[in-house]
């Protein structure tokens, strides 16, 4: 037993645990952004591991667009309760009601963009100085440019042309009053790593990720759930389909994939064979070439 090597999943896990601990050590009031999607579930799992046998020493915050899948909310509440964590909900409906932002109109209206307003308000109201999230660099080309510790000015903005050097495993979380950080513990994980890890660790997920029957319609080649928050054009006919979701965001911008994969092993086979990226089903990224970069500059995570 002289082979002191970690396989890649263990190495990624160890890196993520190290980063979460570093956040708690360097910041006074951190928070974990929790969407109920697989990446934030993995982050929360990592956080549990980092502080075991103590409880996770920070709250979870959900930016609730009001257009979440009911399954997500149900899962969120159960998960948080089992974890014994404190949940804060930053509500998009509230910032709309308070007149802090206006809702988009029309067929492709989405609350994804104005999420940022609720997120920034949640951070400010609770005086969080570091917000951890499950964003991964392999998701999108602007995300591929992120540091682990991403510095934000007092307006929560990202300046991609002027990021701090990030050397070795030494993270510089020093900041001026009013500034904060976004931290991404699973930056280096791919979609495949996340699925493999979920399988290896036996992590529970919302049922949305597994193949099921659902009423859907097709818009711009993407399979969408026929929910009552989305207006349909006359030609967009609803039919029952066998689908699952690769990512879980808002019902208005998250597309489904036709799939029979109803357990983790089948999902992994499917991910290994697929030829499109996971955000390929996200209409929020398709709005323009630099859609993600622009949102991140405004304070999106």
């Amino acid at each position: 037993m002289n082979n002191y090597n970690l396989n890649h999943l263990k190495e990624l896990e160890s890196e993520a645990i190290y980063i979460v601990r570093e956040v708690v050590a360097q910041f006074e009031n951190p928070v974990l952004l929790f969407s109920g999607g697989k990446d934030s579930i993995v982050c929360a799992h990592i956080a549990k591991k980092a502080f075991y046998p103590a409880k996770v020493p920070f709250p979870l915050m959900h930016v609730d667009t009001g257009h979440n899948f009911p399954e997500t909310i149900e899962f969120r509440d159960k998960f948080v309760k089992e974890m014994g964590a404190n949940l804060i909900v930053a509500s998009v409906q509230e910032v709309i009601d308070q007149g802090l932002t206006v809702e988009e109109k029309g067929f492709n209206a989405s609350r994804n963009g104005i999420q940022t307003v609720a997120l920034l308000k949640g951070i400010e109201d609770n005086k969080f100085d570091a917000a951890m999230g499950g964003a991964r660099r392999d998701e999108e080309k602007a995300r591929a440019k992120e540091r682990f510790f991403s510095h934000r000015d007092e307006f929560g903005q990202w300046d991609p042309k002027n990021q701090r050097a990030e050397l070795w495993n030494i993270f510089n979380g020093m900041k001026h009053f009013g500034e904060n950080f976004r931290v991404f513990p699973i930056s280096n994980w791919t979609e495949m790593d996340v699925w493999q890890y979920i399988l290896a660790e036996g992590i529970e997920l919302p049922s949305l990720y597994f193949s099921h029957q659902r009423d859907c319609f097709i818009r711009d080649g993407v399979v969408m759930f026929a929910s009552d928050v989305m207006e349909r054009k006359p030609e967009e006919k609803v039919k029952e389909m066998t689908v699952r979701f690769r990512t879980i965001g808002d019902m208005t911008c998250t597309g489904a994939v036709c799939s029979e994969a109803d357990d983790l092993a089948k999902i992994i086979e499917e991910v290994a064979a697929t030829r499109t990226t996971e955000r390929g089903t996200r209409s929020d990224d398709k709005r323009s070439e630099a859609a993600m970069e622009d949102r991140k500059k405004q304070g999106y995570f």
């Binding site: 540091r147 390929g280 070439e289």
Partner: protein, 421 residues
């Protein structure tokens, strides 16, 4: 690639380096494309934006040049991380900028790599930025360096050109002590010797770049000899079940720790024995770099973040006076007698710069003893004195306990990368 074979794979982290426009991003794009690691929607997006820019071919560099200003200017500004896997290995790629004003981003990408691919434009040969990046790679202790002589298509795939550049490079790097060096003639644009063997260079007998990346022996680049455990955080559950529990959380920075080992906590010097090595999955029998674990000790001693747990008979230097090679990353030059914040392992201290011993002439590697002003992108040897003791090893011996960063206390920016001598 099937899902199953993916479970137990080695991870290789590599970064690109070389002068601006040598073709680094094109090479990464080519490697991803030819190894079928590009998804359909990504390729369609590439096609569309290449067409929009009026380019004749699909511009593979756009795969990593993800920022708006990068795409507009056709240059890389900041590191892009890309991921791909073959049945043999999983790779983390850092595609870094070649432009001199973004050197700090190159250092960022290179600092965590096991391997550096340094590109040289076959038409231009070695230029100052090639020297600088090669020198930085050697300072950072990157064990494997692959020189790719690129754009061979523009020099008629000439063996002579390749051999000439190879000779010049060998003469330069003989002084640098890099462990493992390789040379490959490639065309990133056309794909020669990247993933597929070139049909234009019969004279080249070696393997392709991907073959090398898959097969190079990385063994263990970690130190498993000198036991070093920087304490990151103290875990006190304060629950009935774990009433007296006090665990020291951290990531092993060197050596192998086992329950029963006699250890010493620095700086106090108090000794104890490791009681257990805990994880949420249960206690474990040995912990080695880079594992994140929690240690408990037999005795109650006062240990907090910034302290280090080591073996009794193998201790690091405990010192306030540190000599380092520094790579300067900020527009504002290093100030002699200036005060800076320092981060070293889990320690935060302040320091004063006592003296600049010399600056290195990048092109000749000579020591400049008259010009001692260390400006952005300069590399030099300095001595600092810290406000509190640090527990250090030579960088060459341990990248974790041998590295530190220098922070400007006014701006909070990371202004220097330090490698302890």
């Amino acid at each position: 690639m099937s899902g199953k074979s993916y479970l137990d794979m080695e991870l290789l982290r590599f970064s690109t380096a070389g002068s601006a426009d040598d073709g680094k991003s094109t090479l990464i794009g080519r490697m991803l494309y030819d190894s079928k690691s590009i998804f359909e929607d990504q390729y369609e997006a590439l096609e569309a934006s290449s067409k929009k820019k009026g380019e004749a071919n699909v511009n593979l560099a756009l795969l990593t040049d993800g920022l708006r200003s990068e795409r507009e200017q056709g240059i890389t500004i900041d590191v892009a991380y890309r991921y791909f896997a073959t049945p043999k290995r999983k790779f983390i790629i850092a595609d870094t900028p070649g432009h001199i004003q973004y050197t700090r981003n190159m250092v960022t990408g290179a600092s965590t790599s096991n391997l550096s691919i340094i590109l040289i434009d076959a038409r231009k040969g070695i230029i100052e930025q090639t020297y600088r990046h090669t020198f930085i790679a050697s300072l950072l202790g990157i064990p494997h360096v692959v020189f790719c002589i690129n754009k061979m298509d523009l020099v008629d795939y000439s063996e002579e050109v390749f051999e000439k550049i190879k000779k010049e490079t060998e003469a330069f790097i003989s002084k640098l002590g890099i462990k493992d060096i390789n040379f490959i003639p490639i065309s990133a644009l056309k794909g020669d010797n990247v993933v597929n063997k070139s049909e234009n260079m019969d004279w080249y007998q070696g393997g392709t770049l991907l073959y090398l990346l898959e097969n190079i022996h990385i063994g263990s680049d970690h130190n498993h000899v000198d036991c070093r455990f920087p304490v990151q955080y103290v875990i006190r559950p304060q629950t009935d079940e774990f009433h007296d529990y006090r665990g020291y959380a951290g990531r092993v920075a060197g050596g192998v720790f086992r329950p029963g080992d006699r250890v010493v906590a620095l700086p106090s010097g108090f000794g104890s024995t490791i009681k257990s090595i805990d994880t949420m999955d249960g206690p474990i029998e040995d912990a080695f770099a880079p594992m994140s674990v929690t240690l408990t000790l037999e005795d109650e001693i006062d240990i907090s973040r910034g302290d280090m747990i080591v073996r009794e008979n193998n201790q690091p230097n405990v010192t306030q006076d540190v000599d380092i090679m520094v790579c300067w990353l900020n527009e504002k030059p290093l100030q002699v007698r200036g005060k800076y914040a320092i981060k070293h392992t889990s320690n935060d201290v302040r320091c004063i710069v006592k003296e600049v011993k010399y600056k290195v002439d990048i092109n000749t590697l000579h020591r400049l003893e008259d010009d001692k002003v260390i400006k952005m992108n300069d590399i030099g040897r300095i001595s600092i004195r810290t406000t509190k003791v640090l527990f250090t090893d030579e960088y060459k011996r341990n990248r974790n306990t041998g590295s530190l960063i220098i922070i400007d206390e006014a701006t909070n920016e990371t202004v220097g990368a330090g490698m302890i001598l």
